[in-house]
Structures are given as structure tokens and as C-alpha cells.
Symmetry: C2
Subunit: 422 residues, 2 copies
Amino acid sequence: MTEQSVVAPTITDKLVASREASRHLATATAQVKNAALEAIAAAVLSGAERILAANELDVANGRESGMSEGLQDRLRLTDARLQGLADAVRDVAALVDPVGQVVRGSTLPNGIHLTQVRVPFGVVGAIYEARPNVTIDIASLALKSGNAVVLRGGSAAQNSNGVLVELIQEAIVSVGLPAELVQTIDEFGREGAKDLMRARGLVDVLIPRGSASLIQTVVTEAKVPVIETGAGVVHVFLDASADLDTAVAIVHNAKTHRPSVCNALETLLVHADSAERLLPPVLARLRDSGVTIHGDERTAAIVADVVPATEDDWATEYMSLDLAVRVVDDIDAAMDHIRRYSTHHTESIITQDLTSSERFLAEVDSAVVMVNASTRFTDGGEFGFGAEVGISTQKLHARGPMGLPELTSTKWIVRGSGQVRS
Amino acid sequence: MTEQSVVAPTITDKLVASREASRHLATATAQVKNAALEAIAAAVLSGAERILAANELDVANGRESGMSEGLQDRLRLTDARLQGLADAVRDVAALVDPVGQVVRGSTLPNGIHLTQVRVPFGVVGAIYEARPNVTIDIASLALKSGNAVVLRGGSAAQNSNGVLVELIQEAIVSVGLPAELVQTIDEFGREGAKDLMRARGLVDVLIPRGSASLIQTVVTEAKVPVIETGAGVVHVFLDASADLDTAVAIVHNAKTHRPSVCNALETLLVHADSAERLLPPVLARLRDSGVTIHGDERTAAIVADVVPATEDDWATEYMSLDLAVRVVDDIDAAMDHIRRYSTHHTESIITQDLTSSERFLAEVDSAVVMVNASTRFTDGGEFGFGAEVGISTQKLHARGPMGLPELTSTKWIVRGSGQVRS
């Protein structure tokens, strides 16, 4: 027995340290936070050799364990990707600090001055998959919004994330902030993730990022508040009056611009009165780009080479060059279909009819509803937020693309001069 | 066997019906919603005989089963209380409709018009205790904000709530809205409450109202998003520079104005430099109103007849004429105490010093932080909201007193003219 032994911190120790560190950041100026971000951007570049060596180990392990090429690509870091990450951190530094923004305020009849101001959550937890870029991304967004962050990345990226968190911590400390503002709990494995989900009082909000199954697990197991960033079974409805060129361009853009992301089109609904006019040119353009059409019988009656769509197709987020197509009787049937199968992420109507447009915008209950625009615009960058924390598909706190303000809470400041309640 | 048998609806049937009914309300005008509220107010008065008969049954059952006088009083309805409830429903009708309010908007560089508007959640669940007034209260707030509501009240109020929901449904139907907008699931007992907490996709948000243990159960068991309306271990800190008259008046008001509510004072912290000056007059005034003082040793050294405070006292929400008192070395010690024991509801500093005031307001992490004002002002009515849904002690979605807008979500409306993403 030695006289003293160093005991590795438990996950609770780490979370308590995050909470304590978060206090220092809550009242830090934007100048200090930006200096930290600048130091992180510099560290990502100067530490490239260490990062890439650790990442190579992760990719090699992934290859040996039979990881798919696609997942290996998401896991892989390169000099160019590190440069992109450093640039993204500097972009976050350039954003307006949401902390301290006055949301609303008034002077009450009794003379009390009331102000609602944005404050950091405190400690944000993030659970995500084997994409080391998310480590840098979430850490920089959390720091800018004044939050400490506890990271649980996919185990397949553990070496990469370990080095990245070390570099981030060195950078934070170099500007006088506590290292515990950014911590990983990867060393605690799956049990650690479970503990994080249940850490009431230590974690203020938990953000899962990744596959539908990851998000589902977090949402159903967590005891701490969760912001659900969900899957997108996204619809475009071509109304009877849809303009042909607009329909062709928007459907093509929504499906093929970047098929693997959540705002890509998955199901096309077509008004029966316009199906013969619109479907042949719309689908021909898609096929030129290699899209496979999974259609219902009415679609197959109009265009050739349609894979018969099953019930499963309507509920599927393909994330690939596949599209489900269904001919519907009218706008009510289109909205019924959307109500049944949509994940309430984004839906767009293509129409020249004002009544149809207004009904669709009012009655479709999704985070983003559009008329005559590509669903690909559901994006924090496109909305002018400068950065995107994720796209919320829940209704509490934030819905749709989330920017920095969505990483904050508020508090009420009451300035009195001796008032009591009568 | 009869040829046909009527099968009672399951809880899922009821929730699906709520979801379906909520669609009708989501696009209803304020005029229609106000007509429904007016009909409910009238029904509460015209149906008084039925309500009071059912309530008498509940109170009698409560008395037989040994319910405390206090709980019996909360359960009991009278003609005067029904009049108060009807008036409150009419007050809600008079409030501005939050649905359709534009939160923010802009025109993007590509010409897309972007607007974020308030929309109803859809289906709100409420779990509460044996206070039938909450049935009317929550139902009217939910309807005004465009939401269907599913009610699970305490079993001890089941007869009262059954009649109230019947009357509400008759009133809603009389103005052409579906009865299923307001439903009770009391008939499913405890299992029903559990099903409600787990009804993902059918319930958009769940609001528990009642004791700390009820709220704790809901928060830890629910799989649907919850708004936590929490307990208040509320602090006042008398700084070294606190004005005597202000200190006496605010502490007295915060403790004795209505001791049983969540914004009442529970722990008084006093700067050591002002303890001898302030404690004798502050505590004398409290004792005149019958307050029992639970103090630490330093308090007992200054004033007589102090019940020794234990660790438990610091964490207790007395909700009675009891007060914990502790002398602290300085503002840092005061804020350390608050950080450790507060439920982050409301804290107030009494001071004449600007630095102390600004530090307290910035560093104390509670839903409402005050300077030189009574904690009793943490209230939706006092904040000018016109009504109060509850006081949120969580950081997600809403923090502090919640008004009608906090019963809504938002959605993004995108109006394009053929834009695609490049």
C-alpha cells in the first residue's frame, strides 16, 4: 500500500466539476469566450499531427471491425477537414453573444423594473456517434453560449476525441478559463452515457446527435431535459395548380442536392388533377440524377419503371437517391398523408393557388412549412443564424433550426426600491 | 351474448381523440375560443347545484378516510368559489390570444420570406392533486392557447372533476367545437397517469401541478416532455448595507403575506456585519406575526428564543410560519448557501450597495433574482401576464412565471417563389 493513491474521478466527480466550472463561464465576457475559441482553432491546427495519429488508429480499428466505408469516411479526419473545423470555430467566435440579451422587459405599476435576460443553461450534455468533428462543433457552440459541456462520443472515435478534448482543454486553460468546461466521459463507456442521461441537477439539458435509434434511446431513457433533434421524413406536395418549372426544380433540388441529410425530400405527393402533367417531367429529371422511384399504383399508371411502394416506404427516411411517390385526390388527402407519416420536420407545397397555400401553411403541423421553396432551406445557416446546433423536431423550447440563442435559458431580473406585495 | 356491445374507450382511444380534436382548435379564431370560454363560465354557474352535490360527496369521502382539514379545504367548492372560478375563466377570455403572434421574421438574401409564429402545442397533459379548481383553470388556459387538454386530477376529487368536465364538454359543444378538447382520464386510475406520462406522439407536453413528490414522480417517470413547476426554497439576503426599514418590511411581507405558496420566503441569510443591527428588529416584526425562528448559533447569539436549525432546515420548504435564519460572513458565503440549498425559484438581496446588487443579480442562478423587492412578486399576475400557468423551475422552454405564450410552441413559415439551394 502506498501512503497516497490517486483515485480516478467518477462520472459524478466530473459532472460536479463541470457545474463548478460553468459558474466561471456564466459571467465571462464575450471577449474572454472568443479568446478561448481562437485558442481552440489554433490548437486544432497546431495539434494536427497528434489528432491525425489518433484518428488513424480509430479508422484502422473501425476497418478491422468491419465498419462500413460510409462510417469510416465520417470518422476520418484530414488536414483539409481540420482546417474546415478551425474555420468553423472562428465563425462561431464571430457570432453575436446571446448571453445577456434582453428578451423583454417592462416597468410594473408599482415601479419595479422587470427584465428577462438570456443566461447560459449551465451544463450541456451531448451524446453523439463516431464523428469527431461534432466534438469541436458542440464544444465551440457551448462555450460561446456560456455553457460547460460534457461529451459522450461514439466509442469508435474514442482516440480522436480524447486528443481533441485534451487540446481544447489546453486552449481553454491558456486564456485563464477552467479546463473542466469541456470534458469527455468516453472512458465510462455505455454506463457513463446512462449516468449522463440520469444526472438530474448536474446536467441542465442533453442534446443527442446522430441516428434515429440513438435519439430514440436518449429521449426514452433520459431523466434530464432533452432537446430532440430528429429524423426527417420530409414531404413535397405538388398541388393541382403547381407551376411545372418550379415543381421540377424544387423536387430535384430537395431530393438530389444532398440526399443524406435530414432536410432532403423523401416522399413526393401529387394532386391527381396535375399528376399526368407534372409527374413525367419531374420524375424524368430525377432519373437523370440517378433517383429510384418507389411509387403507388396511380404513379405506376403514369410513368414506367416504378418500384411498387409499400407501407414501409411512406415512413422511411431513405437518406439516399430513392423517392417515394404517391398520387392523392386533393390537398386534404395530402395533409392526411403528411399527418400520418411525417416526422414533422419540413413540408413544402408547390402551388399557384392562394387558398391551398394558406391552408397548407396553417394546417400542416411541422417545424418548418413552406410554399414554393426547396426543403433544403431548413438550415440554421440558410435561416441566417450563422451556425446550427441541430434541427429540433420537438415542440418544447426550440422547434426547427437552432442557433446560439437556443442554447440559452432566461432569467428574470427584478429591480425594486423596497416594494412589498399588498 | 348480445349482438353488439359498447366497449369503453381505452386511454389510447381518448388520446387519439384529443389529438384529432386539437386540429380543429389549432386554427380556430380567438372569437370562437372566447365563445367557448364564455360558455364554460356560464356553465360553472348554471351547473352549480350538480357541481356542489358531487363535491360534497368527495369532501365526505375525504373526511371519512381521514383527510386533513387543510386538504379538505382545498378540495371544497362553494358558491363563492364557483363565482371566482367563472370570473377567472372570463379573465382568460379577455387575454390576448398568443396563437399566430409573430415572434420574429426576416427576408433572406434569396428573397425567401421567413416568419416564426406561435402555434399551439397540440395536446397538453395535466397531472394534479385533489383541487377541482385546477380542472377549470388548466382547461381554460389550454383552450385559449389553442390546445386540447387531458386531465388527470387527484382521485379524491374524482366526482367533482367528473361533473366539471361534463359541463365543460357541453359548453364546448354548444359553440361548435369537439367535446374531446377537454377530457379526463381519472377513470383509468394510477395506471392511466402512467400511460399519460409515456404517451409519446400523443401528448406534446405534460404539466404536473402540486406537491414536490408529485412533480418528482412525473419528472422522473415521464417519457413525454415535461414542464417542471417546482418547489420554492426561497432566500432573502440582508447585505451589510441593507436599509433597516426596507429589510423589516420585505422580510415580513415575503414570509407572512401568504406562507403556503411557493414564492414565500423560507431562509433568511444575514451578513455578519449587519446581523446585530438588523436581526433584532426584523425578527421581532416576524414574531409579532407568529413566526417561529429556526436559527444557527450566530443568530441565537444575537436574539433569544431561537430553535436550533439543523441541516434539514436549510433544505426545507416550510410553507408555514417558520423561517430558517443564518448569519453568513459575506455575500460570497450567502451565494454559496443559495447555490447549495436553493430550488432556484426566487432569491432577493436587500442592499444599498451597487456592487453587491449587480453581483447578486448576475451570479445567482435562479428563475427570478431580485434586489430590494419582496419575493412574493414572482407571480404571473404581478408580472402583468394576466394569468399564470405555473412557475417553471426548469431551464428549458420556460423559466419563472408562465403566461399563455408559454403554452405555445412555434413554427417557421417559409414563403418562396421557386427558390432552390445551390
